[in-house]
Amino acid sequence: MKCLLEVENIEKWHGLLKTLDGISLCLGEGEILTLLGPSGGGKTTLLRILAGLEAPDRGRVCLDGRDLAPVEPHRRGVGLVFQDAALFPHLNVEANVAFGLRMAGMKKRERQHRVFEMLELVGLSGLEKRRVDGLSGGERQRVALARSLAPSPKLLLLDEPLGALDRNLRERLARDLRTILKKQQLTAVFVTHDQEEAFSLGDRIAVLLDGRLERMDTPEALSAYPGSPAVARFLGEPNVFTLKDLPAAFRGLFGDSSEETAVLIRPEGIVLRPLIPVDGEAGPFPVLASGEKDAAFLSAHVKERRFFGAFFRVELDFGGGFVLTARLPVSMVPPDEGARVGVALKEGMFFALNDVQKDR
């Protein structure tokens, strides 16, 4: 794949703190990359380096094969949409959108045409003369998007543009945003700390943790295989362990991996079974429904049980400090807290993590 944006081994220090550590990535033309990571993970810094607002301490950024280091931000042809829109309060909607065109020296008539086009694209036709401080949060972000799109940047950077909006609006805007970006065939880097946004928007997702690019892959692949324990934890996986922490009965499931191998058990891959009390040494055995094949089996206490509307979350205490979190569909009502249940893991819903390449 030909790289439009090529980032090589970027490093950035803020005082004694290394905010970015050896970031390399490549973005093809028309591709949308979402940069996912916790706040303080270095996403915004990377974005600002791409925009030229900060200089890397090491490494280089190339756009279209050209090294950007000596190019000032206003000559880079890189657009940036800010989290708070950063609209110019002294200009109306039209003048905001036209700002970049004015800078590029476009004639007034053409400018008007382009502004009209852009506002139509973001669904704000007719608001040209409105003052920006009268706009709602969603409208402001649309104006900001239109403003960044208007000068046709080679690369569009978006810094959590939906972060300040409420949930419903955010989902709708995220959908629209992808449609617009795709329609314009824009190459874009989208920064977010929201997983859903990252997964629904990006062609690929780059996970940035503590200044390091932990993983970069398509949403599907990332979802299927988080790659490292840190990424898995960041993606919200509750059951990430090293092999030696697991009860012996589970340990066998992972073959002959080493004691230190990190393993992941998907919460939706845990099945609860009622226990049948049987006299004898073997202790309680569960009843197996016919046709199900469970990979492992043990019993545990229900430590906590909570209903989340769409599912139950149950914490299972196996004793010895080992607790698993399970996610059960509404149809499978879990027993009360304190009850003892049999626990089984579904095939394919647990795997070792460490032996994965960082990215393709």
Binding site: G52, L53, E72, H74, R76, G77, H90, D133
Partner: protein
């Protein structure tokens, strides 16, 4: 492909220029004269000046220092007691005449001390209105002269605006919900003041108090004119020692003591102000939380407060209309007439013209230097900017006398500026500069950095970013700063008296000269000029309040 290198060079040059303009201005017109003056004083100290032992060896020094502190403290307390009710009423209630009330109580601050003192004398002095009234009513004239009470009253009158603006402005931004919460939690109005308002207002109160303290600590004209010769503060003692007794070593040491104390107060005050600016990011919609309730107490308070503040000003108006023992407009109709031969006592109209020209010119200089300084200091990546900010604020607290003497000592190089009108312009700019910076710096800092960055990513060069984004956004503040500098120059007295040629006298200097010249019409004429000065200042302030309003609406819209 060397654009980057040249861009960096350009940025460095630009940044350097921003620093250099105010720095050179201060270096040449402030630090250089002060250092020359200090050098002269210290050489006298080195030589073992006998006056030093006489002054510092006796109780004189301690008693002057103690009295300076004491009167400043009392004045500050009195100002607080006096101004807080007004600030409260203005901040919390909507009532008819609210704008006029704010204007009336703000006016005295920019009036020259000569005028304030004259106004007080025409109200409470031996031949003032109170004396006339009381001798008519009780057959015995009641009046004040050369008294601490008179000084304290004048300080309170003068600094009312400081407390009013800082505390009132802050109070108005505390949202109604805070008071409602306090009420729901069972606090009565007194207890909610004690436990909610006071702690919330504490930083603003402290900051305003320190500023008032600073102004009273270095107050000059009021002490000199209302306190009598026996009253001696650091500032007046510096003046007497340097100007009349020519004991430069004593004056220099005193000035150093004063400079250090003032520096400390400014530093602490600046810190406090920054803290309460960040501590209270309440939604800035002051107008919305005003209660409409028809409470009598607030309106009454505003009325009393406003009347008290208006009294000395109206006394001045009355005095301008009283020629001999009858009422007359002669003082006004004669404003354009020269008195005497016109060589030394120019006509009031001419003085007004000079004042305007000087005010415009020094406004430009103060604005240029203040803009550069504010732009430079507002850069977040600057090291030691707190200290630098305090340094730039220093002219605010420097005794005019050592500076004026330093001017004479130093400013003949490279061209002789002494005795030229340019010197007055520069002196006025120096006084206005800290105020300009104080107004501009928060404005610059309040412009979100990402607006500038947005402009840059949209293809605007740094220069265009400045012109098209930053400048329009700080423009109302620039206007406000300009008016500040303008009114300060209008009212400036000390430096003008020092450096002016008689045929170029400004309005305050003219007032002073007319006040001390014989002639039945000269006193009312002086008062009439005071009234004019007041009107001009009030007009400027009216404009200022409009601009501030503009800024406020803009900033509230930003916060939405």
């Amino acid at each position: 492909m060397d654009t980057g290198g040249s861009a960096v060079r350009k940025a460095v040059f630009f940044k350097g220029l921003l620093f250099l303009i105010p720095a050179l201005f201060l270096a040449y017109f402030y630090f250089y004269p002060l250092l020359r003056m200090a050098g002269l004083g210290f050489s006298g100290i080195w030589a073992g000046d006998p006056g030093l032992a006489r002054f510092f060896g006796s109780r004189d020094f301690v008693s002057v220092l103690a009295f300076t502190f004491w009167q400043a403290l009392l004045s500050t307390l009195l100002t607080l007691v006096f101004a807080l009710p007004g600030a409260w009423v203005w901040a919390r209630f909507r009532f008819p005449g609210r704008g006029i009330f704010a204007l009336v109580v703000s006016l005295p601050f920019v009036l020259p001390a000569v005028v304030v003192a004259a106004a007080f004398l025409s109200l409470l002095g031996p031949s003032g209105i109170l004396a006339d009234l009381s001798s008519f009513l009780f057959g015995r004239p009641l009046y004040l002269e050369d008294s601490l009470i008179l000084v304290l009253l004048a300080h309170g009158f003068f600094n009312y605006a400081v407390v009013f603006r800082i505390v009132g402005g802050f109070w108005a931004r505390i949202p109604e919900s805070v008071w409602e919460a306090a009420r729901i939690l069972g606090a009565g109005s007194f207890r909610s003041f004690l436990h909610v308002a006071l702690p919330l207002l504490a930083p603003a109160l402290l900051s305003a108090s320190l500023l008032v303290f600073l102004f009273c600590f270095s107050s000059f004209g009021i002490i000199l004119m209302l306190g009598g010769p026996a009253m001696s503060t650091l500032e007046t003692e510096i003046y007497r020692r340097a100007m009349h007794l020519f004991q430069l070593p004593v004056a220099t040491l005193l000035a150093c003591v004063q400079l250090i104390l003032n520096f400390a107060v400014i530093f602490v005050q600046g810190r406090l102000e920054k803290r309460f600016q960040t501590a209270l990011a309440f939604s800035g919609k002051p107008e919305n939380s005003l209660s409409h309730g028809k409470k009598r107490l607030p309106v009454l308070l505003a009325l009393v407060s406003g009347t008290i503040m208006a009294l000395p000003l109206s006394a001045m108006v009355l005095a301008s209309l009283r020629v001999g023992d009858s009422w007359s407009l002669a003082a006004y109709t004669q404003l354009f007439r020269e008195s005497g031969d016109g060589l030394f006592l120019i006509s009031p109209a001419a003085a007004m013209g000079h004042s305007l020209i000087f005010a415009l010119a020094s406004m430009s200089v103060a604005l240029l230097t203040g803009l550069c300084a504010a732009a430079f200091l507002s850069r977040s990546d600057l090291r030691g900017k707190n200290l630098m900010e305090t340094f730039f604020m220093l002219p605010l607290a420097t005794s005019a006398v050592p500076l004026g003497l330093g001017f004479i000592l130093a400013l003949h190089w490279p061209i002789d500026l002494r005795g030229t009108p340019l010197l007055i312009v520069m002196a006025h700019s120096l006084v206005g500069f800290p105020f300009v910076m104080r107004v501009l710096l928060p404005a610059f800092r309040s412009v979100p950095k990402n607006l500038m960055e947005a402009a840059m990513t949209l293809g605007a060069s740094p220069a265009r970013t400045w012109r098209l984004v930053l400048f329009p956004l700080v423009l109302p503040a620039v206007g406000a700063a300009a008016i500040f500098a303008f009114t300060i120059s209008l009212g400036e007295f000390g430096a003008s008296l020092f450096a002016v040629r008689p045929e170029l006298a400004t309005l305050p200097v003219s007032i002073y000269r007319y006040l001390s010249h014989p002639g039945a019409l000269n006193y009312p004429k002086a008062m009439a000029m005071g009234v004019w000065l007041m009107v001009m200042t009030a007009g400027s302030f009216w404009l200022l309040s409009r601009l501030m309003g503009l800024m406020k609406t803009r900033s509230t819209q930003d916060e939405k």
